[in-house]
């Protein structure tokens, strides 16, 4: 009997604790967006905002300096930079914060993640702030920022994010190796495959090359798009959201990349984790990586190796992938915080500061005028590699950002890995990628 009473009591306590949790009123996390109304806000009293980011090392230092400069001239605003780890850690924390109603005022974020927050009405429309006569943008500012960068932050005609740290996917190469082999920097797919073959060296003939012609990043899911575009296709239809994984263009692109991998003239980064690592150590002649890897390449390349970079070799088109995050303002902050956040973002991305940030890091200035900035001008002269993105901006594009795009592209990435490891043929893999990707994308739209 005693036991029964005790068991009953324990069960009762458990149920009570469950239901105290359940009966919480379901308060909506998102505030209704105020539309264009609340713009008269000016900063007259001290206001604190936090900025969640995933920048470390030189990138973080540069951000700190710009932020300190901002606070020195805007005494009422305190900006707290919060390093949340790597990008994926940052996105995990943002999602948890969104659920808990504790989103920061500003965050770095990719557009393919931000689309969900926009759909949930959690993001502040920056267009009215930009239109403000005193603290907004002049026409010259709009013209100064490359269109593809601005477009990446626009949904339904409203600006929800501003470009911050942008980079380009490029082909890095070992100058000495190319010269020794008498190979010129490839500009087309055919030249690339040929160069990769000539540059691959297997000294001991054990079938495992000591030097690979080309090394690619490990996960080609979101990064496969430039080859799809260059073959005349794309991954996801921008208008309809339809997956275009099994088109002729897709097949041509995958066949090209797989041809190099199967002939062992190219490989994925594997143990090296990043494609630039074997290049820096003389175990690869070329690699495909982001311009943001430039500081690492400068500091960690072995003596005697000179690395340069070029645009990705083109095929039917010369599309060049630009990527990197934007900065966004969440509408869960107060009006004063949102105004302060806008003014900070405007400062962060003005000519002088975007030039400074790009000079200190491997990122690209988000304004064309930065090329005329004395600090960046000196850098361009010292490091000609930094000119490349400016030469390619007209052919530049940014990746897809539909809700569920990441899930769909991951499904494609899984199938590509099977193809590259020789376990599946291309037709079947692309067909399955489309089926699995479509299912994954649908699933992602349920919440």
């Amino acid at each position: 009997m005693r036991k029964r009473i005790l068991t009953f009591a324990v069960a009762l306590a458990m149920m009570a604790s469950m239901f105290t949790g359940c009966s919480k009123p379901e308060a909506p996390v998102a505030e209704e967006t105020a539309g264009n109304a609340a713009l008269a806000t000016k900063i007259t009293e001290p206001v604190e905002i936090s900025f969640w980011h995933a920048m470390s090392g030189a990138n973080e230092e540069a951000m700190k300096k710009i932020t300190d400069d901002f606070m020195a001239t805007n005494k009422n605003v305190t900006v707290t930079l919060v390093n949340q780890g790597k990008y994926l850690d940052l996105f995990d924390k943002l999602m948890a914060a969104a659920k808990a109603g504790q989103l920061p005022a500003i965050s770095q974020i990719y557009s393919n993640r931000l689309s969900w927050y926009v759909s949930k009405n959690l993001v502040e429309n920056l267009s009215p702030y930009m239109a403000d006569a005193t603290t907004g943008f002049a026409q010259a500012d709009f013209d100064d920022i490359p269109k593809m960068f601005l477009d990446d932050g626009i949904w339904d005609g409203n600006q929800y994010a501003m470009p911050f740290n942008k980079s380009q996917m490029v082909l890095y190469y070992n100058e000495g190796m190319l010269a020794d082999a008498g190979v010129k920097v490839p500009t087309t797919w055919e030249e690339w495959a040929e160069a990769s073959k000539k540059l691959t060296v297997d000294k001991d003939k054990d079938g495992d090359p000591d030097v690979y012609g080309t090394v690619f990043a490990n996960n080609l899911s979101t990064d496969i798009i430039p080859w799809f575009k260059q073959a005349g296709g794309t991954t996801i239809d921008r208008e309809t959201g339809e997956l275009l994984f099994d088109t002729e263009a897709a097949k041509e692109a995958v066949t090209f990349l797989n041809g190099m991998i199967q002939s062992k003239t190219a490989r994925l980064a594997g143990d090296d984790k990043n494609a630039n690592v074997p290049l820096q150590q003389g175990r690869a002649a070329m690699c495909v990586a982001s311009t943001s890897a430039l500081p690492n390449i400068e500091s960690d390349t072995m003596e005697g190796i000179t690395i340069n970079c070029a645009a990705l070799p083109s095929h039917k088109t010369n599309d060049q992938l630009f990527y990197g995050t934007n900065v966004t303002v969440f509408n869960t902050s107060t009006d004063a915080q949102k105004q302060a956040a806008w003014e900070y973002i405007k400062f962060l991305t003005n000519t002088e500061n975007t030039a400074y940030f790009a000079a200190q890091t491997g990122y690209i200035p988000v304004r064309k005028s930065a090329q005329g900035d004395p600090v960046f001008k000196a850098v361009l002269e010292a490091k000609p590699m930094k000119k490349l993105p400016f030469e390619n901006m007209d052919n530049g594009f940014q990746g897809e950002r539909h809700i569920g795009a990441i899930n769909a592209l991951d499904a494609l990435g899984d199938q590509l890995n099977l193809v590259f490891s020789g376990k599946k043929d291309i037709d079947a893999a692309l067909k399955d990628a489309k089926i699995n990707g479509t299912k994954a994308m649908e699933e992602a739209k349920n919440n």
């Binding site: 005790l6 458990m14 490990n218 984790k273 699933e443 349920n446």
Partner: protein, 300 residues
């Protein structure tokens, strides 16, 4: 009418309940409530995650998970891992515990050495292991080279993933298991061994007939905690394979699947359904173990 409060306080059961209440509240809030919530969320088929507004409910998520080839792969990988890691871990720990329990030199030193991996964070261990196993610079391949053998692509060969995870798990958990078993071994009255010797029992007979039966409570405890722990493997894969589930998903475990669905793909309901299925699997194994290992009531 007066409520006899004093009477309640004098009641042992009621007092016991009061003592248990703080712990129950904490466990209720942080363990039972999330289990209940994730079970409920597993049924949401159309909902707003942020506002908890549910538009449609059904069994779709559970069906989706059970049919998902990735979940089946995750279940298979996890089961293979559990099948080898848990029993082998206990067996190896038992061998070391018995050795350490005999009169060997530097007993204390060995005990500390085996315990170090257990108190080191999984993240650091995984980073060190991924360095040891690097194809070009790793210690493992350097050792193979000295032996005149070919390099092995430890971290990029999909066939190596589960064996590596099993080895890592056994090595990491060894110290803890040894301590538990040593405590058990030292609790066995030496008189039994003297008596057995007098009866002429040989070493292995003494081991099987005295050591093992008397060590059973420790072994049962270890088998239950090891199996539960093994089912939850995640950190090792996440760190060692740079936030990927190993080459060709060879390290995709159930918890990785749940994590991936929840945080990467934001398929919250699917993740909840998968989490609840994992809970059921672990519960089933635990109940089975209790059923098989609990002492059968003897007839008097």
């Amino acid at each position: 009418m007066r409520i006899p409060v004093k009477k309640y306080f004098k009641n042992d059961n009621f007092r016991a309940f009061l003592y248990l209440l703080p712990a129950l509240l904490i466990i209720g809030t942080f363990q039972f409530y999330p289990i209940f919530k994730s079970f409920a969320m597993g049924f949401y088929t159309k909902f707003d995650y942020l506002t908890d507004t549910v538009y449609e409910v059904g069994f779709d998520n559970f069906i989706y998970v059970l049919k998902d080839p990735d979940f089946i792969l995750a279940m298979k990988n996890t089961c293979i891992f559990v099948f080898f890691a848990a029993p082998l871990g206990i067996l190896i720990a038992l061998i070391f515990a018995v050795i350490l329990n005999s009169n060997i030199h530097f007993k204390k030193l060995f005990r500390s050495v085996y315990f170090v991996p257990f108190v080191t964070s999984t993240v650091s261990i995984s980073i060190v292991w991924s360095w040891i196993l690097n194809k070009d610079y790793g210690l493992a391949n350097a050792f193979l080279k000295i032996m005149g053998m070919n390099k092995i692509a430890w971290l990029t060969d999909s066939n190596m993933t589960i064996p590596i995870l099993i080895a890592l798990s056994i090595w990491k958990g060894l110290g803890y298991k040894i301590i538990i078993l040593l405590a058990g071994l030292q609790g066995i009255d030496q008189q039994y061994y003297f008596a057995a010797r007098m009866d002429g029992a040989r070493k292995h007979q003494r081991f099987w007939s005295i050591t093992i039966p008397l060590l059973k409570p420790s072994l049962v405890f270890l088998s239950i905690t090891s199996i539960i722990g093994a089912f939850k493997i995640f950190d090792e894969v996440y760190i060692m394979y740079s936030q990927q589930p190993g080459p060709l998903k060879s390290g995709l475990t159930i918890v990785y699947y749940i994590f991936n669905k929840f945080y990467r793909h934001w398929e919250f309901a699917t993740a909840s359904a998968a989490a609840f299925i994992l809970f059921l699997v672990i519960l089933m194994f635990t109940v089975l173990q209790f059923a098989f290992t609990s002492p059968k009531e003897k007839e008097e």
